[in-house]
Symmetry: C2
Subunit: 323 residues, 2 copies
């Protein structure tokens, strides 16, 4: 049964329990009133997911609620920020309360885990489900992980095992087969990416540049190279491939998926040599892997090399919406 826009908002979004001390006024007025953290920079990012473009229209709403927030928290992680608040613009073809309830369950489970409060937004009618979230966080001045600080000689690292989400996408389009035992793991990596927030904060003062791999490792690393005006040499045989990825694809296809498959939401970052020991000491305690995959070079461009020094050829570096 359709409910009115306003009762929907009240019921599903405003009623949620978490209330941060830095929120003076949350959902329910023309605007939210927020109390910035003294002496810190405000870090904001906004990402949109569109049905049939970024997710299947029949996707599990709970996973979607998780993912819509996770992709934004991943951007905060890539800046080294501590998350605080989120806003949500939700366009829906109809007021489906079952869908909303499950969407909220996924969204708020992740939000609560990182103490993120939903402070505002807009719910509108439209023909295509479209989810835009803005996440807000804080970082001390000078400590944000930007894209423009990498220097030749810095070591390049990646968290987790890139390519898993790309494999799940390939399988969804009938272009790969996943062993039954690995299916839940691979699908979870696509549907429930884990924002690397603790890793991002730990990298303050350590990493010289960082990015999250939403569009594919090669393309996102390319953003660091472009902004930092440097190049990179990545040793593709060092890429940390998951057992599921290795079992599902031949080695070259697995490497290509790790380099060019999107939707991973891992952190790719550069660390000056003198801080590499400190990084590797810290990373030994992380819940996710952290793997040294290459080096920043003065020569521009991304070189992909095998263990024997031969070039590895990659046709496509990542996802482009209008390409």
């Amino acid at each position: 049964m359709p409910a009115s826009e306003f009762s929907l908002i009240d019921r599903y979004f405003a009623a949620h329990g978490l209330h941060r001390a830095d929120v003076a006024l949350g959902i329910g007025d023309d605007c939210a009133l927020l109390v910035p953290h003294p002496g810190q920079q405000l870090v904001v990012t906004m990402d949109t997911l569109v049905a049939n473009v970024h997710f299947f229209a029949n996707a599990d709403p709970e996973g979607l609620g998780h993912k819509a927030l996770a992709v934004n928290l991943s951007d905060l992680a890539a800046m080294g920020a501590t998350p605080a608040w989120a806003t949500l613009a939700l366009t829906l073809p109809r007021a489906d309360e079952d869908w909303l309830e499950r969407f909220c369950r996924g969204l708020f489970a992740l939000a609560d885990r990182y103490q993120v409060q939903l402070v505002g937004g807009d719910t509108t009618h439209g023909p295509v489900t479209t989810i835009t979230i803005q996440a807000h966080g804080f970082v001390p001045p000078g400590l944000a992980l930007r894209r423009d600080g990498a220097q030749p000689g810095d070591s390049i690292y990646i968290t987790g095992t890139p390519g898993d989400a790309g494999l799940a996408l390939a399988a969804a389009f009938g272009k790969a087969n996943i062993a039954a035992d690995d299916h839940a793991y691979i699908q979870g990596r696509l549907d429930r990416p884990e924002p690397r927030l603790a890793q991002g904060v730990a990298l303050r003062g350590i990493a010289s540049a960082a990015v999250d791999t939403s569009d594919g490792l090669a393309q996102d690393l390319g953003h660091i190279l472009e902004r930092s005006r440097v190049g990179a040499r990545v040793e593709v045989d060092r890429l940390p491939l998951s057992p599921a990825l290795i079992a599902s694809l031949d080695r070259d296809a697995a490497i290509i998926t790790a380099l060019a498959g999107g939707d991973d939401y891992e952190l790719c970052f550069a660390v000056p040599l003198e801080r590499a020991g400190q990084l590797e000491g810290m990373a030994a305690d992380w819940e996710c892997r952290c793997t040294h995959i290459g080096v920043i070079t003065a020569e521009p461009g991304l070189q992909l090399v095998r263990a024997d020094g031969s070039a590895f050829r990659l046709e496509r570096s990542g996802y482009d919406h209008f390409g």
Copy 2:
């Protein structure tokens, strides 16, 4: 010719000239880095416009760029905030550079006028043009114009001439005829709403409650009544109707349009009697009209009365997306 997502973003959004001192890092990284104003509260609002729901798919893109930002600045005005930054999530069926250029012209003309910098966002492909903007501003603690502060006896005011945008909508759907001389004025009121930012700031410390009339005066005033747990008596013959509205509709229909037509983006606010003189003195210098239309009552509900004291009947109070 389709261009890549990233070159589109770079060309149309990042290249724009305005650079505020409180933006440490704008478009081009995983997040923007912003410097909050010391001792002030951050005020945020987010509104979405969807093609064929909030605007006609063939609408003038320049007007749309203006309006998408204006509706958000209007929410800041309704809180008494000074605007600072905006983010934009833009979903487009195709990378139409002519459309983008005109959209940006409208957006940035308004942004520049109020010194608002576009600091981030997301451009995605999708079947339906969908525009979500978040606006950010500042207000000193305790001075925000909330919805929950109205008290019985407070006077109720409205800026401008409500109903003009509703008349334009009615005409677009063939339900009203506008005299040729009035057409440009009425259409401009729908397409190019002027956020009442100067008025909102002036109302700090004066108004006890405020709201902007995006969904219709009666419905939006209803939000003040609900949050403040009060009622109101509005004298419908005091409503400031524009000459164009009066010329186009019979008197009852004009009043109904002023009360229930959406998309006006005027400020409706309450002022305690002891500050009414101060308000009316200030408002004499405003560019827009400011009209006393009624009074807050202890008895709940919205009473609409004519000059002779008889009740005015309104079937529908405003716009509801899922109603």
